[in-house]
């Protein structure tokens, strides 16, 4: 079975379950499952012993689960569970078909742009910790999409932000995940330590570059032995794209 079909099946179940909850079913809100809510709760919990508005124990336990997962398998959450990563991936696949030509972004610009997600993380935490409320959630794609634009209460600025993210995702693969996702920024140091990594066999590799083409984040497994990049989500697209048997594999490596 192709691993992508397994991954997309799991993501479809996640999106379906969240949509079901967003329609008012189940005992909890869809927001209760967001691990980033755990990060947003931390300051309030340590300082006042209280959860931030709309957040609860499940956000914190999901955060702990994701930290464990990231220390084991890098950012596997992003490619196997996160609905926003899934939508970003689908948009980038559509983008490849409808956007004429291939938009290339240089490595140095890419590196600078990635700093935006740390600014995004700092801004979200600053305003959340200062106000004790999820004051920026109107600009969070997860909330905006699954709440149906905040049950119709979100304004034109949110529509503009969501449109820009959607257009960005059509042009640059995984635009939101690469440059804006605050959870991705928070997971970066843990992902660097992730034990299970993609490993390239130098002897059998023909350096065709298929792995880099397949990687949604544009990483280059052919340039390294162990892929240590914190952006690797272990989606295994590179492993499936590799034309040589037993060239790209998963290995345990500190």
């Amino acid at each position: 079975m192709k691993i992508r079909y397994l991954r997309w099946s799991l993501l479809t179940v996640v999106v379906g379950a969240l949509t079901w909850m967003a329609l008012g079913n189940g005992e909890r809100s869809f927001e209760a499952y967001c691990p980033f809510g755990g990060i947003e709760s931390l300051y309030g919990l340590f300082r006042e012993g209280q959860f931030t508005c709309a957040l609860g124990p499940l956000n914190l336990s999901m955060l702990v689960a994701i930290l464990v997962l990231t220390l084991l398998a890098k950012k596997a959450f992003c490619s196997w569970v996160c609905p926003i990563g899934f939508l970003g991936e689908l948009l980038s696949k559509i983008g490849i078909k409808i956007v004429p030509g291939k938009f290339q972004i240089s490595e140095s610009v890419n590196r600078w742009f990635k700093l935006l997600r740390y600014i995004s993380l700092a801004a979200v935490l600053f305003f959340t910790y200062r106000t004790g409320e999820l004051i920026l959630r109107g600009y969070d794609p997860f909330y905006a999409i699954f709440s149906g634009m905040g049950h119709g209460t979100l304004g034109n600025v949110t529509i503009l932000v969501m449109s820009l993210i959607a257009i960005g995702s059509l042009v640059i693969p995984m635009f939101f995940c690469r440059y804006l996702c605050p959870l991705g920024a928070a997971l970066d140091p843990f992902s660097k330590l992730g034990l299970i990594k993609i490993c390239r066999n130098e002897e059998t590799c023909i350096e065709c570059g298929e792995c880099q083409t397949a990687c949604p984040h544009g990483l280059a497994p052919q340039d390294t032995i162990f892929l240590r990049d914190s952006d690797c989500t272990n989606c295994l697209e590179c492993v499936e794209a590799c034309p040589e048997e037993e060239t790209l594999n998963l290995k345990l490596k500190l």
């Binding site: 691993i3 209280q50 508005c53 609860g56 124990p57 999901m62 398998a73 034109n156 299970i196």
Partner: protein, 127 residues
């Protein structure tokens, strides 16, 4: 030694379900917001207590927001909003403000960021 690629979905599912069942380890503390007025009208001995069950008070943020609605209202001496019980306990001077006035303040529609107005709080019970 190579690891099977199916280890990733196995780890993902195990940690996600583990996280779900771990939620009981993090109990939700009681959340409340307290306001004490420095300018309540009349004598303190005239004050009465009013407890309202309020729909819409569900967390620290909404408790704070609810409490702020009464910070400049004459006749309200103290207000404790307890989010975990969805209730607000007022100490008020009945010569200055009535329970119906208190109820009207919380049920007044509030202007949202997109320009529309919406009733956020509803008093379900008063005693």
């Amino acid at each position: 030694m190579n690891i099977s690629k199916y280890i990733i979905p196995v780890l993902v599912l195990s940690t996600m379900f583990g996280g779900y069942f771990l939620r009981h380890a993090f109990t939700q503390p009681t959340t409340s917001a307290i306001f004490e007025s420095s300018q309540s009208g009349g004598n303190l001995e005239d004050n009465l207590t009013l407890t309202c069950k309020v729909q819409g008070v569900k967390c620290k943020g909404t408790a704070n927001f609810f409490t702020k609605l009464y910070t400049d209202i004459a006749g309200i001496s103290t207000l404790e909003t307890v989010a975990s019980d969805h209730k607000a306990v007022f100490t008020y001077n009945p010569k200055v403000i009535s329970p119906d006035d208190i109820r009207a303040i919380m049920e007044k529609p509030i202007r949202l960021n997109n320009g529309s107005t919406k009733q956020i709080f509803t008093c379900l019970e008063m005693k």
